[in-house]
Symmetry: C2
Subunit: 192 residues, 2 copies
DNA sequence: TTTATTTTAAAATAAATGTTTTAAAACTAA
DNA sequence: TTAGTTTTAAAACATTTATTTTAAAATAAA
C-alpha cells in the first residue's frame, strides 16, 4: 500500500556508483547523484540513510555486479591459466582511454576520508581477490605449472600488488601503454 | 616598508603540505590549513592566490624538500646499486605505521579533481623519477650489471609501476608487511 | 608627526554541502 | 468514499566551503 516508488534501487545504485567511481567519494555531492539518478533527496535518504550508506551500497554493487565477473575467471579457472587471464584482463581494462581505475582501490589513498565501514569493504574486497589468486596458484603448483618451492601466498600478494600498481600507473595517459609489457615479467616471476 | 609579515612562506607551505598529504586535496579545507598554520586567510590568499595555488606550492615543496633527498640516491648513485637503494628506501617508507603514501601519486586517482596545473606537476614528477631510474639502469647495463639485451626504459617503467603499487598496497595495514618480500622478485626481474 | 604602505585580525559573503521538513500526490484496504 | 500509508517534489535548514572585504595594527620614508 502507499504510493508506489518510481525508481529501482538497483538502477539508482548503479548510477550512483558511476559517479563515485568517476569523482571519488569526497568529490561527489548528493546533488551530483540526484542529478545523475533523477531521484529526489528524500527518497535517497529514506533508502540509504546518508551519503555513507549510499557509498557503501555502491561498493557492494561494484563488487557483486561490476568487478565480480572479472574475477569469476579465477573461480572458473582456479589454475595458472586463470591467473594469466585475470592479469591480462586487468591490463586490458587499464588500456582503455576512459580508464577510471578500481572503485575500491581508488579510495585506498583516502582511507580515512570514507567511513570505517566503507574502508573495511575496500580491505575485504582486496583480501578476497588475493585469496582467489592464491587458491589458483596453489592449484597451479599442484599441477606443476609453478615451482614446488614457490611461496604461493607471497606470489598472490605480489600479483595483487601489481594490480594496485596498474590502478595508479594506469592514470598516466601518456605512459600507461607500457603496462601490457609487464605481463611477461610478472608471470615469469610467478612461474620460475 | 609596511607592516612586516609574521610568517615564513616556507613554514606555511610545509604545514599545508602535511595537511594535503594527510587528507588529500579535496578533503582539505582552507580552514584546516589556517588552523594548522596559524596564518590568517587574508595573508593566505594574498600569498597563494587560491586553494589551488596553495596546493601547487605544496607539491613543489614536496618535490624539492621532502622527496627530493630520496631520489637523490639515484643521482648520487646512477647505477644498479642506486636503483637497489632507492627501491629499498621506498619499501622502508611504506613499512611505517603512519605511512601516508606519496603526496603526488596519492592524487593520481583524483586527477580531474585537482587543477590541471597540479595534475601536470604530478605527471612531471613521476616522469622525472622514471627518467632518473632509467639513466641509472643504462649505466648499470654499461657496467654489465644487467643483461645487454634488456630494455632499460621498460625496466624503469616497471620499477616506477611497482612504486605506484607500493603507494596503494601500503595502505593495507594488515598486508603491507609483505612488501619487502617483493624486493628480490623485482630486482631479479631487472637483473636477469 | 604625518603619510604612505603593507600585513593582520575579524567579520562578511556567497555558494555548496549534507540532511530534514512540509505538504501534495498516488496508491491500498475498509 | 474515506482513512491510512508511502513516495514524491519542493522548500527549508544548518554547516561548511572558498573567498573577499573592512578596519585596525605595524612598519618606513617624508
Amino acid at each position: 500500500m502507499g504510493r508506489p516508488r518510481s525508481y529501482s534501487r538497483e538502477a539508482v545504485v548503479e548510477k550512483a556508483m558511476g559517479v563515485f567511481w568517476q569523482n571519488g567519494y569526497k568529490a561527489t555531492s548528493i546533488s551530483d547523484v540526484v542529478r545523475e539518478t533523477g531521484l529526489n533527496t528524500a527518497s535517497m535518504y529514506k533508502e540509504f540513510g546518508d551519503k555513507e550508506g549510499l557509498f557503501s551500497a555502491a561498493l557492494d554493487h561494484y563488487r557483486d555486479h561490476v568487478i565480480g565477473p572479472r574475477y569469476r575467471i579465477l573461480i572458473d579457472n582456479p589454475n595458472l591459466e586463470g591467473v594469466e587471464m585475470f592479469l591480462r584482463n586487468v591490463f586490458l581494462g587499464a588500456a582503455k582511454s576512459e580508464y577510471k581505475g578500481c572503485l575500491m582501490m581508488n579510495h585506498l589513498a583516502q582511507k580515512h576520508v570514507i567511513s570505517p565501514e566503507a574502508a573495511e569493504q575496500v580491505g575485504a574486497f582486496c583480501a578476497e581477490v588475493e585469496s582467489l589468486v592464491e587458491a589458483a596458484l596453489r592449484n597451479a603448483q599442484a599441477d606443476g605449472d609453478i615451482g614446488p618451492d614457490k611461496d604461493t601466498a607471497q606470489l598472490a600478494s605480489f600479483l595483487v600488488f601489481c594490480v594496485h600498481g596498474t590502478v595508479l600507473y594506469g592514470r598516466h595517459d601518456e605512459k600507461k601503454h607500457v603496462i601490457p609489457n609487464f605481463y611477461d615479467m610478472i608471470m615469469r616471476e610467478i612461474r620460475e
